[in-house]
């Protein structure tokens, strides 16, 4: 009278234990799908984390529209657009990397991952240029705001949000670069195959999310009217 009978699970006897399969999963597919759900749940938390900032930005924007519009003119939309393109292309190379992994092409995989890594680096370089320009002009968040000659008061708040949002995004780019570097290293060691490429897929998802957030940041920050 029990809820279960037990069946000896035979899979482990029938075939060799696939590389990369953790002990508590029954097979590769269960492992892959579980980690995929886990990854998506994590992405949802990321969306809500950034979302909180977007909500704060939206509400403060609606309270002080003049200040926000005046402040955004200090940003250079050309650099923003450049970075948008850079991230979009990096997303493309990332997804190509996933494809290369799915089809078991190790060389291409490494190539695409490296390109993605370099594009991420390029993004950070542009960000660095933008930031140093802002620092120079005294366009700093909160009480450090020291820009001279403003006609509309309250612009410091725009820059509070600018630095918090792009800063948090920048941290995510850096973390993404670490993850991609780790993938390159593992790919070189030959860990991935068309049977096992979960980590590439997961990092890919993360990277696209970073791109997705920027897609919203760009018009909201650089192109206000």
């Amino acid at each position: 009278m029990s809820q279960s009978t037990t069946v000896p699970s035979q899979d482990h006897h029938e075939h060799a234990h696939p590389p990369g399969l953790q002990h508590h999963f029954i097979d590769m597919r269960q492992q892959f799908e579980a980690s995929k759900i886990g990854m998506w749940l994590f992405l949802v938390t990321e969306v809500l984390l950034f979302g909180g900032l977007f909500v704060g930005y939206g509400i403060m924007h609606s309270k002080h529209p003049e200040a926000f519009i005046a402040a955004h003119t200090h940003l250079d939309w050309r650099l923003g657009a450049l970075n948008t393109i850079v991230l979009l292309v990096s997303s493309f190379t990332m997804v190509m990397g996933v494809w290369a992994a799915q089809t078991g092409q190790k060389k291409k995989l490494i190539g695409y991952l490296t390109t993605t890594f370099l594009l991420a680096g390029a993004f950070m370089v542009v960000k660095y240029i933008e930031y140093s320009h802002k620092f120079h002009e005294g366009l700093l968040p909160g009480k450090f705001y020291a820009h001279q000659g403003d006609t509309v008061p309250g612009q410091f708040m725009f820059f509070s949000f600018y630095f918090m949002m792009t800063g948090l995004h920048g941290i995510h780019v850096l973390l993404g670069m670490v993850a991609i570097a780790w993938l390159i290293w593992r790919a070189q060691k030959g860990h991935f195959s068309s049977q096992y490429y979960g980590p590439v897929d997961m990092v890919g998802l993360y990277w696209h999310l970073v791109d997705l957030i920027w897609i919203y940041l760009f018009p909201l920050m650089y192109l206000l009217t």
Binding site: T6, H12, H17, Q30, G38, G52, K63, M157
Partner: protein, 554 residues
């Protein structure tokens, strides 16, 4: 044998058939374990430790309130005491309490899985919890925090002390909670035993699922709120500070967007435990399985639409107040369904009044009061009178301390033999349960009355007219403390005995009772396959149709 040729996370396979407590020895093997049962126990002991810390602070608070004016401390110390009490109890005790301690231990066993989906993430989450806890405690050295656990701006953005540290601690603890949630959802989706469809899932798993949904959807917003608060303190970003053009009430929206759903992070796991205990000790099928399962999810989702009922007097707009009040009332319905279904489960059962069942019944009685007093607060006009009085304090202690903590005790007494292979002294446990019930009501029932008569909360000093009720409450807290310590002593005393409890002492029908007591490291010798529903008490259980779920069977 399944486990023969699998890689062992613990590094060797020798202990695979010994129980999880003894499979490997030494402190290090515990600190580096990825076994969900061991992580669950580490969580449990941490939670008990902080429960005692927070409880001792509560006793000091009650002692101070014995007389109006100074009794044993000054106003500043008092403010720090209740802030720390509230912060410890919410962030370190009750939110991780049932999910991370009991849930971690029991959930994979219930599902017939070898572990949670991401064991290493699980351990990470525990260490994040430890780091967060240490950060929270470090505020004691940094000069204390006197904001109240709600951290309302602009007080919190201007007062001194370790506010930033406490806020960052809560931020870090949020990640621990998020990781637990991610782990549980993936586990419930993908790790169920072959044949276990969604409606063969034990209700505890449904409760954990609903809890995890909230953990994932709400906690990140708390994270960003707290970061914004720290930024406000460090940079004066201006979002919450009216002097800089910000809106202090906006902070309250941000805070309660998390913290209201968080109260359901606290009660859903409690309800989940009760849904397991009552059928087992009534030896009868749960009444209205689907209603209970869906009401958990309904509570979780509705819980996101009502947060501003904490802000009816805060200067919100009239319309917003009306909408939030209206939606709040809908949560009473799934809660009512659950309560009545539990009672119906007892009806015509075969009821055995063991310690877990006594706690479960205490839960039912206390939750009825705690929940219904929520209605006073959800109604606009009465909330205007009762907001921020001891009525609110009493309400949330009835649901948090009374319902959640007592459900935790019910679960702990229920699964204790499974966890440790030993049985406690049942008579003593029953006496402790009775003392807890009496002490609890003596402590918090007077607070409803005080609050109705206008005694505000977070008051160090109070008018003479409230003293009698305060004295009553303080004496109650001593009875409560005695009961709780006795309860703990009874449980701990059992650990000195020899292991040797039968694997299924209560006659449970869920999968964890298939495992040995205590279970082996990999839970089951062979992957269990489900043959009947979780609460099927018929003499000849009717086999369920084995559903072939994607990714579960193969």
């Amino acid at each position: 044998m399944a486990s023969e040729n699998v890689m062992h996370a613990n590094g060797h396979g020798a202990g695979a058939h010994a129980d999880y407590l003894d499979s490997t020895k030494g402190l290090w093997s515990w600190l580096t374990t990825v076994d969900h049962k061991r992580i669950g126990l580490m969580y449990l002991w941490s939670v008990v430790f902080f429960m005692i810390t927070g409880g001792l602070l509560a006793l000091l608070i009650r002692l101070e309130l014995l007389t109006p004016g100074p009794t044993i401390m000054d106003a500043e110390l008092y403010n720090r005491a209740f802030t720390l009490h509230g912060a410890i109890m919410t962030f370190l005790v009750i939110i991780p309490g049932i999910p991370a301690a009991l849930g971690n231990f029991i959930l994979p066993l219930l599902l017939g899985a070898k572990d949670v989906a991401f064991p290493r993430l699980n351990l990470t989450s525990y260490y994040i919890y430890v780091v967060g806890a240490l950060m929270a405690l470090s505020t004691l050295i940094l000069g204390g925090v006197d904001t109240g656990w709600t951290f309302y701006t602009p007080y919190s953005s201007t007062t001194g002390g370790g506010v930033s540290m406490m806020v960052l601690a809560a931020f870090v603890l949020g990640f621990s909670s998020i990781f637990t949630g991610v782990n549980f959802i993936a586990t419930i989706h993908k790790m169920r035993a072959p044949g276990m469809g969604w409606f063969e899932l034990p209700l505890f798993a449904w409760g954990m699922y609903a809890t995890a949904l909230i953990q994932i959807l709400a906690t990140p917003v708390l994270g960003i709120t707290l970061l914004l608060l720290v930024m406000e303190r460090v940079l004066s970003v201006g979002i919450f500070d009216p002097n800089l053009g910000g809106d202090p009430v906006l902070f309250q929206h941000f805070f309660w967007f998390y913290s209201h759903p968080a109260v359901y992070i606290m009660i859903l796991p409690a309800m989940a435990i009760i849904s397991e205990v009552i059928p087992v000790f009534s030896k009868k099928t749960i009444f209205g399985y689907k209603a209970i399962a869906f009401s958990s999810v309904a509570i979780a989702l509705l819980g996101f639409l009502v947060w501003a009922h904490h802000m009816f007097t805060a200067g919100m707009s009239l319309f917003a107040g009306a909408i939030f009040s209206f939606i709040t009332f809908f949560i009473a319905v799934p809660s009512a369904i659950k309560v009545f279904n539990w009672i119906a489960t007892m009806w015509r059962g075969s009821i055995s009044m063991k310690a877990p069942m006594i706690h479960a019944i205490n839960f039912l009685l206390i939750f009825t009061i705690g929940g219904l007093t929520g209605l006073f607060l959800a109604a606009l006009s009465t909330d205007v009178h009762l907001h921020d009085t001891y009525f609110v304090v009493a309400h949330f202690h009835y649901v948090m301390a009374g319902s959640n903590m007592i459900a935790l005790l019910a679960g702990l007494h229920y699964w204790w033999p499974k966890m440790f292979g030993r049985m406690y002294n049942e008579r003593m446990a029953a006496i402790a349960a009775a003392l807890i019930f009496i002490g609890f009501n003596a402590t918090f029932l007077p607070q409803f009355l005080m609050g109705s008569r206008g005694m505000p909360r977070r008051y160090y000093n109070y008018l003479e007219q409230f003293q009698e009720l305060h004295v009553l409450s303080t004496i109650g807290s001593w009875i409560l403390a005695f009961g709780l310590f006795m309860c703990l002593a009874v449980l701990l005393a059992s650990l000195r005995g020899k292991k040797g409890v039968a694997s299924n002492p209560w006659g449970g029908k869920t999968l964890e009772w298939e495992a040995l007591s205590p279970p082996i490291t990999h839970n089951f010798e062979d992957t269990p396959v489900l043959v009947h529903g979780p609460y099927d008490y018929r003499p000849q259980p009717v086999p369920v149709v084995v559903e072939r779920e994607q990714g579960v069977t193969h």
